[in-house]
């Protein structure tokens, strides 16, 4: 990392922090009694988790018939939620792997929470392929293994099976990556604690001592994992897009799907990171580590990916017309002007139009606007998957089998329930681990702390004066 920093870069750590203060600020929230806000949030989240368990049990007990799927519409909220969650689970790995390769220092402020969020989102996503089978106890059928059912094997030609491999690989690597980063931080927590807490953190930090050899191994492992995760960022949502694009259903079968799904996934992932980080930084008082500069950078990513998604939407519309293929044209006519027009409008408004306000610097640096926008994008990306799945299936080749779909309370309950599952996991995480990567933030202090760079940097002014004096 270059020690010379351009004078126009913003500092990324504010408040003239020392290394000791960084440790104290980030570690202390895990050592205090939880605040009232946390407790209330946790109760609500656990209630949501309860709803999840209840609706899933209901589904298993009464069967998939308790959902409103029908012969025409075989995928509804289940797969919409699955794709939505798996998309959200893309930001963490993008931040930790790809931004690492691009040497973006602002990633250090948000990578820990984003990776945690990734893992929890993938956990939520992973529920749906199982639940939507209806017979949960046969879930192990998705794995290819020598079996006693004769020739009954999973279909290796099916993207649904590739999903199983892609997502479990992604989950494993993301988890390892996250945990690797946590090891030195767990050791820091250990060194600050006593008794059973100390024993626990000593175990989870594998007896880390901070020896040079430890750091060397840590760095090489991080590099290997970053190398492995980079293609994974692309591969997972590519294969999810294959679930649709390998078919011959108009509106699903289009070659732009893989990169466009990946862009959309990063888009929604960043939106969720923003939603969580804006609350976390406020509640845990981490405004000096997750600064407006961080938020502005993330809003730029939102603007870029939102616009890429917009280019893809318009490309699809144009090529549908250009193709001269009647069914393709009708599929898109139906999307925009059919009975589900409202979901298309919701998608366009939330994903393409509204992020355009981030062209204005003032809005990119406004916490309120960013928070509202992050919710908008979350909604918009849910609509996108609903548009792709439900509206396409509702009207296929044979008009006599056209149908309309509204979810039952069970389906809605499962979706809200996964939010409960997600927030339960996230809230526990904020209690047991530092939400900002302590060791990584320290590594950029000298090149991004506001006492070293930016308008208040005394060191830089000194060197500049020294330079002028020597002339």
């Amino acid at each position: 990392m270059s020690a010379v920093v351009s004078p126009i870069r913003d500092p990324l750590i504010e408040g003239g922090k020392t290394y000791g203060q960084i440790t104290e600020d980030i570690c202390s929230p895990t050592e205090r009694v939880p605040s009232l806000a946390w407790t209330v949030a946790f109760i609500i989240a656990v209630l949501g988790l309860g709803l999840y368990v209840f609706t899933v049990v209901w589904t298993i007990f009464y069967g998939i018939g308790s959902w409103n799927l029908n012969r025409t519409i075989g995928w509804g909220w289940d797969i919409t939620n699955f794709v939505w969650w798996i998309g959200i689970g893309h930001a963490g790995t993008l931040i930790s792997a790809i931004l690492l390769l691009f040497r973006q220092k602002w990633r250090t402020g948000v990578n820990r929470a984003a990776e945690a969020m990734t893992i929890f989102a993938v956990v939520c996503a992973g529920q749906f392929p199982l639940i939507h089978m209806g017979r949960l106890w046969l879930g192990f059928f998705i794995f290819p293994y020598p079996n006693t059912r004769g020739p009954l094997w999973v279909n290796f030609n099916s993207p649904l099976l590739w999903d199983v491999f892609a997502i479990s690989t992604y989950f494993t690597v993301s988890l390892l990556f996250w945990y690797t980063g946590l090891v030195p931080d767990f050791a820091t927590l250990r060194d600050r604690s006593k008794g059973i807490r100390r024993k626990l953190y000593n175990t989870v930090s594998f007896g880390w001592t901070g020896a040079a050899k430890h750091w060397q191994r840590f760095e090489s492992l991080s590099l290997v994992l970053a190398g492995l995760s980079t293609p994974l960022v692309l591969s997972v949502h590519t294969i999810v897009s294959f679930d649709f694009a390998t078919s011959v259903i108009p509106g699903w079968h289009t070659t732009i799907f893989p990169p466009y799904f990946v862009a959309g996934a990063i888009f929604s992932g960043f939106a969720m990171v923003l939603t969580l980080m804006l609350i976390t930084r406020k509640v845990l008082k981490l405004e000096q580590y997750i600064t407006l500069a961080h938020i502005e950078s993330m809003n730029k990513v939102i603007l870029v990916t939102g616009t890429i998604v917009g280019v893809a939407y318009l490309t699809e519309l144009f090529i549908a017309w250009y193709s001269g293929y009647l069914y393709e044209q009708y599929a898109f006519y139906n999307r925009v002007l059919g009975p589900y027009w409202w979901s298309y409008v919701g998608m366009m408004a939330c994903n393409v139009l509204s992020p355009q306000i981030f062209w204005v610097k003032k809005f990119r640096r406004s916490i309120t606007i960013t928070f509202v926008m992050s919710i908008f994008v979350n909604i918009g990306m849910w609509f996108e998957r609903f548009v792709i799945i439900a509206t396409t299936l509702a009207r296929d080749y044979i008009p006599s089998s056209w149908s309309y779909y509204t979810p039952t309370w069970v389906e809605i309950g499962i979706f809200i329930g996964t939010l409960g599952l997600f927030f339960t996991l996230y809230l526990i995480f904020t209690r047991v681990a530092p939400v900002v990567a302590v060791a990584e933030v320290k590594s950029i202090l000298k090149t991004a702390g506001d006492q070293y760079v930016g308008p208040n940097a005394k060191h830089q002014h000194e060197t500049e004066t020294a330079k002028t004096a020597s002339h």
Binding site: S2, V5, S6, I8, T254, T255, P259, V304, G324
Partner: protein, 418 residues
């Protein structure tokens, strides 16, 4: 040395290259079929390839400015000069436009009024695939690109001259660069559909424009590495070290993989769904152009992947020059295989018109130099265009110092260490 001097001997070499190009085009024209299919398709191929390199250089530069990249500014003059090649690019495109209106070439099936009259699909597409759109789309869109290229160049030169520590010019560049990104993204797709995809007028793919963009990106990066290393050998660009080359090597590596990813996405989805209207594109290439089809993947994926995977190969001149040269030719071949089969098919149809045998089987399968594989004439033509590109770029390089002395990131770039 920060001030480039275009040596007379080098100038002479580029003149020689251009002369060879003109000679090859002339020979191609004379030995060609009645429609001059080989001549015109070679012209289109090289024009699109080098214009695309110029466009994507402008796009990369805009993206880097927007992303606050610091490491590259010691070599930004190279990309500024590349981007300005859009001006001769437009002039080259004008020849194609004149040819379109004058009926001198039959590159595009949709431009043939007789064919459109009996073809329902082409009639449907004629609202987009017509001479008016082709002409004004090219003129207006390329005009806008040129405007941005010149604007960024001017701001960059002004910064050298009048720049202060308030970095007023840099802030202006950020605005123009950010505005260009969505604009360039949208408009390049429209032009690629017109220029290249419409060669196979019936066929369509939503990914096409992104795929060609990735191909241009790798070509531009390869050409940049070659230029930078050449300039270093001439004693210029001392500020660029193996650290910068390492980063460029990483870009070459990463985007070669990204190109392969897009290639695979497009091919796999079409192959898997097996819809006749779509598979015909790849079937033609796989059956009748197997060398190009498989060679494309070997040259543009396997070579950069295996050579550049190691750390040290991205830091050595030898391996970098080797891979850059290979993928530059590889992506030139990629455009060759995008353009030639469609053009040849259209030519067969036009020539067979009025004859009893609509299009004879043997005409499709017989090997034709310059279509199924580039011959010496194609290579000569490519060298000619490359000569023009180098001549133009080096003349621009002469007009400004290599060191952007008032750039806010200059110190970072000078100290760059990976």
């Amino acid at each position: 040395m920060n001030q480039f001097k275009f040596a007379a001997s080098h100038k002479a070499v580029t003149y020689g290259m251009m002369g060879l190009g003109v000679l090859c085009l002339l020979i191609t024209f004379l030995i060609d079929d009645e429609l001059h299919t080989r001549f015109w398709s070679n012209y289109l191929h090289n024009t699109v390839f080098f214009t695309g390199v110029a466009f994507i250089s402008l796009f990369i530069m805009s993206a880097f400015i927007t992303a606050w990249a610091g490491w590259y500014v010691t070599m930004k003059r190279v990309w500024e000069a590349y981007a300005l090649f859009l001006i001769p690019g437009l002039a080259l495109m004008l020849v194609l436009i004149i040819g379109l209106w004058g009926g001198f070439h039959h590159l595009y099936h949709w431009a043939d009024a007789e064919a459109v009259a009996t073809d329902k699909i082409l009639q449907h597409k004629s609202a987009f695939l017509n001479k008016g759109w082709y002409t004004f789309g090219t003129l207006i869109i390329m005009g806008v690109w040129i405007f941005f290229a010149m604007k960024l160049r001017q701001l960059s030169l002004d910064e050298d001259q009048y720049g202060t520590t308030e970095y007023k010019y840099h802030h202006k560049m950020r605005i123009w660069a950010a505005a260009f990104l969505p604009l360039g993204g949208f408009t390049s797709a429209a032009l690629v559909w017109q220029w290249v995809m419409s060669v196979d007028a019936h066929w369509y793919s939503t990914l096409y424009a992104w795929y060609t963009g990735a191909s241009w990106f790798v070509s531009a990066m390869a050409l940049t590495i070659l230029t930078v290393i050449f300039l270093k050998f001439m004693g210029y660009l001392e500020a660029i070290t193996e650290e910068h080359l390492h980063d460029m090597g990483k870009y070459l590596f990463a985007f070669s993989i990204f190109w392969t990813y897009l290639w695979f996405s497009q091919y796999m989805l079409i192959w898997y769904a097996n819809v006749g209207e779509e598979t015909v594109y790849f079937q033609t290439r796989q059956r009748e152009y197997p060398v190009l089809f498989y060679g494309n993947l070997i040259i543009n994926f396997l070579v950069p992947f295996f050579v550049l995977m190691r750390n040290d190969t991205k830091r050595k001149y030898g391996t970098l020059v080797f891979v850059s040269a290979v993928v530059l030719i590889g992506h030139w071949l990629d455009f060759f295989q995008m353009i030639k089969p469609g053009v040849l098919h259209t030519a067969h149809e036009v020539m067979a018109h009025g004859h009893d045998h609509a299009h004879g089987e043997e005409a499709h399968h017989a090997f034709m130099m310059g279509f199924h594989f580039p011959g010496l004439l194609e290579i000569g033509t490519m060298i000619g265009f490359l000569g023009l590109f180098i001549y133009f770029v080096f003349s621009r390089l002469e007009k400004a110092s290599f060191e952007p002395k008032n750039d806010p990131y200059l110190a970072e770039s000078l100290q760059h260490h990976v």
